[in-house]
Amino acid sequence: MSQLPILIIALPLLFIPLIILLRSNQYSFILSIIVSLLNLALIIILFKQVYYNGDMFYELGSWPAPIGIRLNADLLSCYFLFLINFISLICLISSKDLVNTQVAKENIYLFYTSWLLCNIGFSGIILTNDIFNLFVFLEISSLASYFLISQGNYKKSVLAAIQYLFIGSIGAVFILMAIGILYTHTGTLNMTDLSEKIIQAKPSSSVILAIALFFIGVAIKSALFPLHGWLIRTYAYAPSIVVTYFSGTSTKIGIYILLRVFLDILNSINPFEYYDLAQLILFLSLFGVLLATFVAIKQSEIKNMLAFSSVAQLSYIVIAIMLLTPDGVTASLIHVFNHSIIKTGLFLIITILFINNNNITLDDIAGLNSKHPLIASSFLILLLGLVGLPLTSGFISKWYLVMAIFKSDYWYISGVVLITSFMTLFYVWLLIEKIYFSNNKFSDGHKINGYQYVCVFILTGLTLYLGIDTHFTVGISKEITVNTFYQLN
């Protein structure tokens, strides 16, 4: 059982050669689903173990911790691990027809290979307890994702991929540099060890430089405002199922790194206190929410609209974190989960409805209700969840976010948060009006297969369920906050 953490990374790695050797489009799809299912099962077992018995370690090659590389599964890891792999599975299941139409035939097995590699990278980032390892896994997932993006059926897909590659690499090199500086100060790469030794290191200007570099790197990865440009471009040109996958995962990984590095490892030196960094980021994010919401209202392309909405929602998460209170962290964790589910659901519906993935404008979705009433009502529920109306999970997020803001020193920003959350209604309602009140006929006539229906319903159901029974999200988030971030207070 103690092998569980490494299995989660190793199992897909074992399947990848098989996929490449078989070179079969059919089998690569089936194999990826099998391995994802297995992986999710392992993660659930791990989650249970960690929840009841406490953190779980795995030392690679049995080298003890500060010298060897250690995998460490605590509640925070399991929470994100579960989320990411769950979304990956959902997207894989509904990917079949989409990949066949959007990706070149000869590349399909490579597409699934990259998908798995990307997911391995994500899992690795989450599980590793070695800060250099984190960089390596980050690069694995990034390289895989550049490939995934380049497979889009747009002429500009490759261009979007290489632009993301440059930006992503800059971020990665920043992180690498920061790791180097931290290493000079502490002489260790093990996260647990690092967090203890960093206190003794004198808070010199180079530590501050490291913090700044690291933060910029993470901000690029998680598309924090104002470094969100790549996200918009990427979401517009990548294969739509990849967009669906990334909407729930890749930016959330950025949030994970942010939490892990800044609030866990470096927490002992209060990294956000230098030059009022937290306040700066907070107000930048606040501005980001406003701007992204305004821009989202103006969009006529649905995926762009949802992408800007993602930027706004991510800013909410960052705002919650930058309150630097236990309540804020709890709120951010809740919102990470809820928003991932909702946004993946929204993108998934758009994805399965428009298999050709051409420019999907508001007019294209008109009349959806008469053609696919069930999909339309799912879409409605997810959109209402995005606004944060009661009985959806979005409401729970908003409740905790506003509560955290009220409890903090920044109570006055609650006005902006509430008003922008109301403004979400503006663009949401543009969609709803098109779906329910348009006389246009819904044009895209292809069939949606049963698996895709099930996936959409699972996500919609979860949105409702997590809005009513919050034991999982709220309970785990509170536990994580107490265990990982604020155990001293």
């Binding site: 250099f132 002429k155 500009k156 490759v158 290489i162 590659l165 690499s169 690498l176 540099m177 180097g180």
Partner: protein, 107 residues
């Protein structure tokens, strides 16, 4: 002094990536950028009067071997990035018949 030189290299690389429009030049910039960090790791691994970390009787001070190992990994990553970038650029050349970014944006 050597740190300043290193940082200069770092900034030159970054500048090239941001400033250049030719994709190949950008890749070169990226490589310079990454190389500067590799060199940074090598600098910090140097211990005063230390010798290369190979067991040798008569010497007690060795340079730190760990950053070298780390940088080996990072170089692999860097090569993977470069090769992927070059592959993507070939694709772009085939599709758009240009690799100048400002021209690409117009198409």
């Amino acid at each position: 002094m050597i740190f300043i030189l290193n940082m200069t290299l770092f900034l030159i690389g970054l500048f090239i990536i941001i400033r250049e429009t030719n994709l190949i030049k950008k890749v070169i910039g990226l490589n310079i950028f990454q190389a500067s960090v590799f060199i940074f790791y090598l600098i910090i691994s140097k211990v005063d009067e230390g010798i290369p970390p190979i067991l040798n009787q008569g010497y007690t001070i060795y340079s730190n071997p760990l950053p070298h190992v780390l940088i080996l990994t990072a170089i692999v990553v860097s090569i993977a990035t470069t090769s992927l970038a070059l592959a993507l650029i070939i694709k772009i050349k085939q599709k758009h018949n240009t690799i100048e970014e400002d021209e690409l944006d117009e198409t």
